[in-house]
Amino acid sequence: MQEADIKFLEDSFKKYYFEHFDLIRVPERTFEREFGYQKFNSGMTRHISIKDDKELHLLFMQNIPSDVYCSNAYYSFPNLPMNEKDWKEADLIFDIDAKDLNLSCRENHTVSICNECKQVSKISEHCLKCNSTKIEKKSLPCKNCIDSSKTEVSKLSEILIDDLAIDQENIHVYFSGNEGFHVYVHGSQFQQIGSRERSELADYIMFNGIIPETFGMKKFKPNRSSFPDFNEKGWRGRFSKQVFSSKSKRSKIISELLVNGYSSFQKTLDNVSENIGVKIDPNVTMDIHRIFRLPGSINSKSGLTKILCKNLTKFDPYSEASFLSDESVEVFANCPIEFSLKNKKFGPFINEKVTVPTFAAVYMVCKKLATIA
């Protein structure tokens, strides 16, 4: 990124941080957390410990970070190197990202930016101008992306509450600041489980590794009565609702499944998995030493803020997570996709000089689709 762009982003971020300290709070059990931050065009600084809100705000003002992170893990010595920190426990975390949902809308609002010649083209595996394969893809998520991510969050919450007995009050959903949601679970029976256990939990939630026998299908002499009932709890119940669609069709569909046989049933499971499995990023859930974007901080991939979603159904990130100023800025934009922020539409801009509010300029500069004129 160029100097002028960095200066512009830093100024805009600083103004936001200065005016919105109320949104940036240290998490509970502050002393036991590891913090970290990144500055524009620079590497990660982590293994930091922080005392209170005041110290946190000082970090923001002194460093003007592009991104700030905090661990979901609790340590005795968060500022020591990883193997000396003395890991105690970690909140469960799930990351749901629109880019992982295989949505058909993606290609309409994703562009490829060539790392060599900076050409912006419609989504492609190589640069349409210089043929380089060093491509960076940038997406401007649409309403469908956000709505689909919300659906995944709801599916996840249902499993957490019904199957894993987690209290609704202990589940907190945050907009990640870019393309999805971070779901935090506090104080559950899973606080102290390690990475391998979390990986198993992720498989459970994603409907991974299922065998036909679990749903009553056997290789030899399968038996009708071992197929799940419509009202069963857990995955057997969710499977029934998806595959049988109604109580009355259950019997007929079981007959079909039995006729089609074991290997066909495995395929049915793979198809069902696409619909009923929750599309979380398993790497995030199984990593017990990761640091996550701090709520209230800005995501430098978009300029939007990571914030708590009190009412997920109604939540609109493009009006509720954009906190930057309305002051006009002149940018040179090459943003072939239209987008909306704070209920205003912008673009498409094709290699043109435009004057837009700071929040829209930041959004495009963060996406590498504009530079300061």
Partner: protein, 341 residues
């Protein structure tokens, strides 16, 4: 420590305090080496180890969960305690491991029977208490099932590689996993083996007892049978091949895939400098970052931890597994192509 009845000690001899038991019964180890009647028990102990070493469960004199003859009961316990003495004297760790596992499976049978015992509530209670005391798992009875917390289940089930043990293939409800008596005890087999193993490892090694020499020598001979040699074909497993192909094509291999590849090749003895060029086609290639990350994996920078290649199970979760028949149920890509001789 649990208070155990006579029957229970015969079933779960590893719960007894060995020294105390002998003292209570009025015996010393030396007597077993010299007294012709007692010496039979040393042979019995040897047999107990031999059977275990061959991967079988020692057929005890217990019938059902009752002792066949009153006299057989102390013999059951003695043969176990003497087996430990013989193992310690032989110093053969492979035999200790095999013995501990076989004994765990033997105890498992009794635990299962005790758990499923509907007529005698106290037997069930004892089994539940053993599981709680030894492994801190609270088991509750619910209708025909035993239920345990999902988190407890996971801590143990991750040691299994069969898919039926994956949480997704279990009846999960209300934060708990539903298990049959058989599954409940099967879940802790490894830990039971580890428990017995550590009890043996931590036991004091006595000085050689006259009359024990023959059996000890036979054990040393027996253990030689289990020394294995491995040869490798040198071919890469499909997951690694796939990752290399992706990179060659200039595809964007995810971070987890790069981690796997780097860790795998480092374990195979390649240097950071040899591995780094593999990544040069990556869309976001940056030589400085690649070298930093590889050095981190190798443990030459950062915390000094040398990372190992993730297990097949983890790679499945990460969509990085492309298993072929030649994988032959290995649990880590590093084992690919290794044949025991």
């Amino acid at each position: 420590m649990l208070a155990l009845g006579q029957d229970e000690i015969a079933k779960y001899p590893f719960l007894a305090d060995a020294g105390q038991y002998l003292k209570d019964k009025g015996f010393t180890l030396e007597q077993f080496g010299s007294d012709p009647d007692l010496k039979q028990l040393v042979d019995k102990a040897f047999e107990r180890i031999r059977v275990a070493a061959n991967g079988k469960i020692y057929k005890s004199d217990l019938i059902g969960d009752q002792v066949s003859k009153e006299a057989a009961l102390p013999r059951e316990v003695f043969s176990f305690l003497l087996a430990i003495v013989l193992l310690k004297l032989s110093g053969m760790h492979t035999l200790i491991k095999r013995f501990a596992l076989a004994e765990a499976r033997r105890a498992e049978k009794y635990l299962e029977k005790d758990l499923a015992n509907i007529s005698d509530e106290s037997k069930k209670e004892l089994a539940i208490r053993i599981i709680d005391d030894l492994f801190s798992i609270q088991v509750e009875k619910l209708d025909d099932y035993f239920v345990i917390a999902v988190s407890d289940y996971l801590k143990h089930s991750i040691n299994f590689h069969e898919r039926e043990w994956k949480l997704i293939n279990r009846h999960v409800e209300n934060g708990q996993v539903f298990l049959t008596p058989h599954e409940t005890v099967r879940l802790i087999r490894k830990e039971l083996g580890t428990y017995i193993n550590s009890k043996i490892i931590n036991a004091k090694t006595p000085t050689m007892i006259p009359g024990f020499e023959d059996s000890v020598n036979k054990l040393v001979l027996l253990s030689k049978k289990f020394i294995t040699f491995t040869v490798t074909t040198g071919e890469y497993p499909p997951c690694i091949k796939h990752a290399i192909e992706e990179l060659e094509k200039g595809e964007n291999l995810p971070h987890s895939g790069r981690f796997m590849l780097g860790a795998f090749l480092l374990s195979k003895g390649q240097s950071v400098e040899q591995i780094a060029p593999l990544f040069k086609n990556a869309p976001d290639y940056n030589e400085r970052v690649t070298l930093y990350q590889l050095n981190h994996l190798a443990g030459t920078s950062g915390s000094g931890t040398q990372y190992i290649c993730p297990s097949c199970e983890k790679l499945k979760t990460q969509d990085l597994c492309f298993a072929i028949p030649e994988c032959d149920n290995i649990i880590n890509p590093l084992q690919f192509g290794k044949k025991r001789k």
